[in-house]
Amino acid sequence: MGKTIIEKIIQAHTDDDAAPRKIVWMGLDVRSARDFGGPNVVKNYEREYSGLPLADKKKTFFTFDLCVPASSLKYADAQQVCRDFAQKHDIKVFDVNKGIGSHVLIEEGLAGANSTVVGTDSHLNILGAVGCFGQGMGDVDIAFAFRTGKTWFEVPETIKVLLKGDFSYPATAKDLTLKVLKELGTKRAALKAVEFYGEAVRELSLSGRITLCSMVTEMAGVIGFIPEFEDSFRKEIEGISKTEFNPVQADEDCHYSEVIEISIDRLAPQVAVPFSPDNVQDISELKGTKIHSGFIGSCTNGRTEDLALAARELNEKKVKEDVMLKVVPATARVYEELLEQGILQALFRAGAIISNPGCGGCAEGHIGLTGEGEVQISTGNRNFEGKQGKGKTYLASPAVVAASCVRGEIASPEDL
């Protein structure tokens, strides 16, 4: 019988038979740690493997993105522990200026199609957007991976999600993603790999692919792939990563544990209501909900295209006086593109607060928390209680967040 994409990628990295539900040893092309899990990785390594070399220093990295530059002593210490270890072992640190680690790995060509990457980021499966098997793991597994270049993994079953129809603006890839999350919830894709098919996803660019694949985490899935693509996407990803893009495809006779069809015709902007990302409603149900703040950024919606969309909606308009809009580009490269294209200027003139690149705004704390009673609309991927403070967070697209910040209430771009 043929193999699905995840089965093929794992098979190419193991001597065992990569059949679904089998636990196999898997070789890793990249292992990484961030500024939160990193210190525990170092602690484990020093306790267990003190004085021993890494399996391959060229494949081992730190990516600092959670609290950059550190705004608390805890993070300052954490980052320095990792830097000291990195210097001792001669490994590369993508430091506090670089931005979100998963995105940096894509931009640097380190997360290539068909490769395997692990790190301490629970959204590392975002790398499915470029055909890479990325997976978040705990500090024990990552310390072991640093030393051995391997990890074990239970080969997941694969489900096929067929998106029927197409969507058009003001619906965006984020609305498509929230719609899928609404349909799949947190159980149907749990512990499974997902392959997304359909015209709407085939046409997605890198930013849209990242948006959809990033939220496979919230679907409780292992990884999501979008196997089909237009030539424009190949050019885009090859241009950014400077590596060839030839992702494996599923065999025609492979086995899917389930095939799910989701219709996305006439897709309206979608909003996830606190406190669960799959608690998704059409925007029409929520229009008029008063908001106090907005956030545009995160690994889900922090790329140039996302921020350009927000800037287009904010063009010649102002963020409402009693609303605070925070913008965090995903990476330094994105930041530079935004500078060159005048997008930061447009966002700034509309009244946005613009931060340096990183996970701020989604990860707790770095560019401010929500206070009790505060209602925030965010392009992030999680709206759990307490994640960004005591306030309530709604999740939506960059266009909807921008429009809502102009109106001071949840609004669609069509309302402007």
Partner: protein, 183 residues
């Protein structure tokens, strides 16, 4: 280091509710409450095992070294918490046997070299009272065979995968890393 035993014989605890059904979805907060997460000393962790699970809060006082825990599906659901594994190691529990585990819990237990096994026949055996608290059973981890010494019958257990037995025999994931790179 002596070869680790790949079979275990012990007295079982059927972790059931007041109706006698195996309790499902026991989460890591019920296994080891977050109020005690500051505890890092293994010997201190055992007393809190199942300390937040209704009906079983006194488990640590009743359990003896070598006992076997049998519970419902999705055991160890919820957030990653090493103490939820370590508390059973602390009590010297010999084996946890359930229909299925939460993914992170299974990973943490396997990496710790703590024997955790799955069996799809447990619910039926408990319903039919073929397995009851206090029974003596023996489980072969590699053959995947369970044997009730109290009631004289055998039942199917999913054997350890080669990955799991490698790590189990080495003691834990880190030790296995040391052996795999020796040559």
């Amino acid at each position: 280091m002596a070869e680790k035993k790949t079979a275990h014989r012990g007295r079982i605890w059927i972790i059931s509710d007041s109706q006698g059904n195996l309790i499902e979805n026991i989460d890591t907060d019920q296994i080891f409450h977050n109020a005690f997460l500051h505890i890092t000393e293994l010997s201190q962790m055992g007393q809190y095992a199942l300390g937040n699970l209704e009906g079983w809060k006194d488990f640590s006082k009743k359990a003896r070294s070598g006992d076997i825990l049998v519970a419902g599906r999705n055991f160890g659901a919820g957030s990653s918490r090493q103490q939820a594994v370590d508390c059973f190691i602390s009590l010297k529990i010999g084996l946890i046997l359930v229909p299925s585990f939460g993914a992170i819990y299974f990973r943490n237990a396997l990496n710790s070299g703590f024997p955790v096994l799955k069996s799809s026949v447990l619910e039926e055996l408990v319903r039919e009272k073929k397995l009851e608290t206090g029974d003596e059973i023996e489980v072969d981890f590699l053959q995947g065979e369970g044997l009730s010494l109290s009631k004289d019958f055998s039942f199917r257990v999913e054997p350890m995968s080669s990955v799991q037995s490698d790590i189990f025999k080495a003691g834990n994931l880190f030790n296995y890393g040391k052996t795999m790179l020796k040559d």
